[in-house]
Subunit: 421 residues, 4 copies
């Protein structure tokens, strides 16, 4: 497999969270052809545990687009409704330990740059899907996963290799549903990885810190409309409740234990100047570096929502549209990753940990594995990026892809060696 | 009795709500000497139903002042703790109907003017009690009550005359406790009256409208202190809860059914710039012209208090420190009052009703009497006032006092005539 | 002209404010054919003094719909951009006094009921324009105007009759631009009129009170976007400014001088949970019974908007999208209207004034006429209405139309009689 | 001098900021007797540059208490009005370099524990001044300063030793006024020091980090009173403005560049439930680790205060009652301090820097010295503390005092050696 050609094909066809129909179809078909045992769709995701699922019409449009782009209809059928997660296993030798690697597949709702200075545009592999773009490197992640899969077929090892291709990492929406389906329950060693993140070319980290626990929510305030001049008292003002919540949420205290964030990013409500607003919908998020602080913060935010609504006689419904947790990498795996990376051609700098300073739902896999006695880490593979992640001019340098494949192969050999541990 | 001398003596010795020890002592002794059956103290008030009672030290200081001003120690003893209400009855003939008149006795926490243009100061009968003043005419009301009592001793009638001398009308704090003691339960005809209220000299109204139902409250928010720099999250910020309540209370909607009022008049909280505020205390009131609207308004205000506290993890306690209700005067008594007033020398203008536009707790007596089948009204006796009620330069013209006594006498004769109805 | 057929035709083709192309085309052609001197479009409206003008695309769509419904292309051309106002005059005799009558033509953005109990639906003349409806009787007003115009052609009088057909009365958006064009500057007697308003069948009032001065506004807060986790301090939060404004606007005090209303009816802002909101747009209104109180109220509201924006480093722009003022009817015209109404068959009850309790921009005409020494009034013609104004089941009883024409004719004869005043 | 006896005497007589009359009198007299050139009062402080000065009556009461406690009347006279700062110099050899050490003298408004477990109480040297206590170790600092002064008299050195005894360090109120008087303008080496701060017994740091820039303010909102029922619109509601400011101040965003703090710690306003609040006074603070962030934060807070006031038609006055800045210790001095500390008997652990995590106005001296080319550091001398700083049971272990004197002496010898640098 030409890893660079694969990455460019995926880059041309970005698909946002839970609509990765074409991408997933390619992954399934290739892994099946390599001899992996492949499970996908409802087998590996609990549909109702997903968060922030697009509307039916959005799902349907993406589904049809994938069909028109030659995705496999039989594969797609099993993924209907956006169940685009895949788990593939390759077992060798007598029953051994399980090493899993997670690759995320989704793109972002960003319109890609067409500047001649933007390499994908210059070389003609820019996004063909208006308003969508692989602006976070997940095209690279998926390509690494496929190349790694191919490489391991002919590599002798003892144990089980488990490749997890996850939808909807952006916003923290897809991992939890896969974890709830039990896909991490038998994993002894778990790896996540990310390209870029301001780690320079040739650098690699065996672990990561500063995973921000985060929750994204939509809060809907339902009041009662009334004519604002004729009978204002007959209304229950949804905008008044929402504005009060907004003020108080932003006034949640700082935490001495570490940085926190809170933001009401959207508010939409009401119908006309002379009508007491019947409804208001608020989109918000909160984040913290530790799970304890995050839990406290989230509790305060939801309390404020609840009591702001009650205060104005409103009904409130809260939908969690995304969630990530904090995590810690296990030193045992960090050390192994560092040791193996040092053997890989092209890595010129190896460090134990890189700060993420952001949110990542691979942490749900990590937590599950660690809770069951396994080990987990999350590596970062450096590559120069001409613009920040999520920017219309984001790009990676493609030679990092092969380095990533190589280090994964070495780690797998180390952990799943015939000698055992 | 010289009604003007009495009014001036009371004016020199104003006593605020529930501290009317000297005033009440004078009333008790005089009514006893006239042959009335006089009950006072716990017999005529349910202590715990009073609202906004001064602190023990304030009560004690007023008690001692009254003793030093020659109040009767035996009378005072029965009024300890501020039970300064009095009910006196005079019965003539075989068992007849009961006519009651309410007179209020309390002064205001206002520092009286010493200007030479202020007649009490000019004539030397200004307040001798710093910071307290009869700035609402209750000195006149009490004097009218005593002169009326004297007059009725020698007037033949058939029935029971009941004179109610009430403490703490200001703020709506005293009437309810007397009503709860049952003092209005046998009343067939109830009269309240007030001097002034922008009704001109020589005018009188047989009834009153625009009694504002009102509630005064004190809300205490109890939070948790914490160092604002070292551990802000350990606090529960009482000021944040109180400020949020304040904003939302003022944002309660207008009512299409009639004017309402709401005000947070005081807020005190916190201890230092670098401490998360542990406590905050808010003093507020709401008012409406109808009892239904008032109930709705009060419910909204208390909901806001409750949920603002919960929103910030605070404990809340609300104390009602004053309350009045709305009321309607019975036309039957209004007509009688008007007819008799027209016979009284000095009344040059008689009208059925005058708008109060304020709150009055005589309404509790009115409600009780009306609920039991009796009739009630509230008269206003005009007199020129050089400054508004509650102002340091408030005063009345004393010739109105006798006119008020005369119209009450004629009404009593009419209602308690030997001929019956 | 069959007044009922005309009303039903207009009812079938409702056009909202500034899109009354078909309606105006009919009015222009008919008045021209009757021999009136007709001016319309930019001659009678100052385009930029209009408020709340629809978007270009909305205007264009309505324009084309009117063409497709056989409106006169030449007439429409002069009304391009929504200049749908018309002024027609008929002069008789030597130079005399000018009597003007205002008729409003616009419909509402309401979806008409198709219930069999709704008479227009039952008789098949319900709205053919989805989402638009004559739910306030302006179809009747326009029909009255046309029938009155026809009648006056053959009626002898001395003076000038001026018929003003106004667009966009709803929301108070059209009258001001016509007044600014000077169309009321020569008027000696001005009449507005309205059907319904809870005045019963057969009743009519010579005047109206409780015109609410009102202002509708749109406030736009422009901030700076920033990533809510990575650099919240680089943002300027438009939603925080808007929410603060909303809370404080609703907390504007009650006025003792009369009822007021204030409402933020819509708020839309922000783009995503993790972005500091860059913009927010608020739609609001305030109202009061007197112009003085309204001016004070509006000043407070705009101050709050301004300083809420500044507080958060935001730019603010306010657009007034509708405005009405308070007004008083002149007793001279009220008396004449009442006297003439008593002569009209079908009017069974005549009263001097009816409370509007709402806003009406005919008040701008009234003010201009009165300021220049003329007289003005606003009559209400009773008719039973099965549902309130602006309701999908609003309707009128059509026999009121002719009564309205008849009383206008009698008034015109009285005021523009050959004898003069 | 017995350093422990001195510390206990000062501990028995705590004096809060700008009232250190007795303490300063002792310091002046002793330094004069040792042969220092001593300047104090207006010579070393710009009176109007002080912040948070107590009221005249508080100053006067403390002054008289000091007199009654045998403070020197002549010395006190020069310190009238709270000018309690002192600067003493000792010069040896030909003109040399200047080394300055700052000692703070003020106590806290804390009621000291009388528990038998509290050593000062147990040994009988607890505070004799009700409500005041040396709960931050400044009694120790002053004692160290005096013992150090004594020691240096007999120690040979070349240069100028400058001892600065500063009032009102608590709240950041005194240093700035001394800096403005120029007392640091000739300083080449500046040292501050603090006991405790969770540094263990026997430990010492050559420098300090995490000095929080801070500003304490009092904001006064002046509105207009009005009767809340009779004419609410005539008021300008100071509590509404203050509550709005409070909400918005707490909602100031987090800064990505480092931790910040903001707190409205006190709010007092209004007079009665039925009066629109005429005034409100708010006490608040903000803090940040860097001066840039602090400047931005303070600007936002004052903007919110300003525009909240304007929004409600209020006048605002802001008084800065305390201020500190951030600072960095110079490595050159840190290294010298560490090297010398290692030679001092009793110091078992030496580290370059200890985090303060709090505010300290010695930073004003540091900034001035550094801006003029000098070097500065701030040392921490460990000692076990049974309760946190500012707690009623705070205490130090007195053997740390002598160690602190000894390290200062060694540093002075090093810097002011006859060999020069």
């Amino acid at each position: 497999m030409d890893i660079i050609a694969m990455r460019r094909d995926l880059h041309r066809h970005p698909e946002v969270g839970f609509t990765e129909f074409r991408t997933a179809s390619i992954v399934v078909r290739r892994l099946e052809s390599l001899g992996y045992e492949v499970h996908y769709g409802p087998e590996v995701m609990v549909a109702q545990e997903r968060m922030g699922v697009p509307s039916d019409s959005e799902l349907q449009a993406a589904y049809e687009r994938a069909l028109s782009e030659d995705a496999n209809p039989a594969v797609l059928k099993k993924m209907q409704g956006g169940l685009t997660g895949i788990v593939a296993t390759l077992a060798k030798g007598s029953k051994g330990e399980v090493m899993a690697v997670r690759f995320d597949m989704d793109a972002l709702p960003v319109q890609e740059s067409t500047s001649e200075h933007h390499r994908p545009a210059q070389l003609g592999f820019e996004s063909q899907h208006p308003g969508q773009m692989h602006a976070c490197g997940h095209d690279g992640h998926t390509s690494i996963g496929l190349a790694f899969a191919e490489k391991m077929v002919n590599t002798p090892f003892e144990g089980v290799l488990k490749l997890i291709f996850q939808p909807a990492e952006e916003g923290g929406r897809g991992a939890y549903a896969m974890v709830q389906a039990g896909v991490a329950d038998d994993v002894d060693y778990f790896f996540g990885l990310h390209l870029g993140l301001d780690l320079p070319d040739g650098a690699v980290s065996g672990g990561t810190h500063e995973f921000l626990a985060s929750t994204k929510m939509q809060a809907h305030f339902q009041g009662i409309a009334a004519h604002a001049a004729a009978a204002p008292e007959q209304g229950r003002n949804a905008l008044l409740g929402a504005a009060s919540a907004l003020m108080n949420i932003h006034a949640v205290p700082r935490f001495s234990g570490g940085p926190t964030r809170v933001n009401v990013g959207m508010l939409h409500g009401g119908t006309a100047a002379n009508i007491i607003a019947e409804q208001a919908t608020m989109t918000l998020e909160c984040r913290a570096e530790s799970s304890d602080i995050h839990a406290d913060l989230e509790h305060r935010v939801t309390s404020i929502l609840e009591y702001s609504a009650k205060m104005h006689g409103l009904d409130l419904s809260i939908t969690v549209t995304g969630k990530t947790i904090a995590a810690k990498c296990d030193d045992e795996l960090v050390q192994i990753a560092m040791a193996e990376a040092q053997q890989v051609n092209g890595f010129t700098s190896v460090k134990p940990s890189h700060p993420l300073g952001a949110s990542e739902d691979a942490t749900f896999f990590m937590e599950r594995v660690q809770n069951r006695g396994g080990k987990a880490t999350y590596m970062v593979v450096g590559t120069p990026i001409p613009a920040p992640h999520h920017n219309p001019r984001f790009d990676i340098r493609e030679d990092a892809l092969e380095r990533a494949v190589n280090v994964l192969e070495r780690i797998a050999l180390k952990l799943l060696s015939s000698k055992g541990k």
